[in-house]
Symmetry: C2
């Protein structure tokens, strides 16, 4: 399956080191989505949604390991139990706040990706579909509160 960008995400993060590792750690960080003109009509009605799901290409990650030591932990974990960028299909997922739309540009907040990240898809975030009553969140149970303050280092970038 071949995927092509529908646009580019502009953020203040030009260096993977020091960037937040999840949107919850990127609260208030402003960014812009520049949608290719050819897809602009597909944004119709998007102004109505306060939150969007972004799927994007982790374009600076290369290769993958099946076991990874996440930023939030000291123990190696299976890659599918983590949100690490280096994965068999390096597709990232972030939920962001939509502030405004100007034609093919979306102003967003709480964005945690590298500047110039290629965007693959936008889906509306809808409580009825996307909010679940979680009863356990594995190794992340204890650590997900730390994520607000935790920053990335260089372990997931190209070398």
């Amino acid at each position: 399956m071949e995927c092509s960008p529908i646009g580019i995400i502009e953020t203040p993060f030009t260096d993977p080191s020091g960037m937040p590792i999840q949107p919850t750690g990127a609260k208030g960080v402003k960014g812009k989505i520049h949608i290719a003109k050819a897809y602009e009509q597909g944004l119709s009605d998007i102004e109505g949604f306060s939150h969007l799901i972004l799927l994007y290409h982790f374009h600076k990650s290369s290769g993958f390991d099946l076991m990874v030591t996440p930023f939030l932990d000291k123990t190696p974990r299976g890659v599918f139990s983590t949100r690490a960028p280096r994965r068999p299909n390096p597709i990232g997922l972030s939920i962001v706040r939509l502030i405004a739309r100007r034609q093919s540009i979306l102003e967003i907040e709480d964005i945690d990706v590298l500047n110039q990240t290629p965007l693959l898809d936008i889906k509306p975030y809808v409580p009825g579909f996307d909010i679940r009553e979680v009863t356990s969140s594995g190794w992340l149970e204890k650590t997900q509160k730390e994520v607000k303050d935790k920053k990335s280092d260089s372990r997931f970038t190209e070398t």
Copy 2:
């Protein structure tokens, strides 16, 4: 960007017509994820999570329109304001319950995809990352409650 399946999703839905259109309409529907043996180690620690995010290929949808009339509405909407399968990059997203793991097989519930859907990625669903306080959900505001009873028809399948 080239994506390859990491496994296959087995569900009771062999025909796109009549299947639920979101996991909330598929409550209790059981399925299995068969992960390719080469990726089995990547499932380590996944047993700890009650819910998983699945990214998959809408393998039976072909092409896309920028404006679509969703199952839940009578008005055409921009494709990025909908969860329609026919989209520029036909990547689907569903949140499912994890019931059990047996080696490379995951038993899941609340699954709303076609049988034999190619799986691209699994991410842990984590409240701290994935639950947001939504203030508006656009045209879906009124209709998302109907989704439980609404079934798909043939409009998104190959012809």
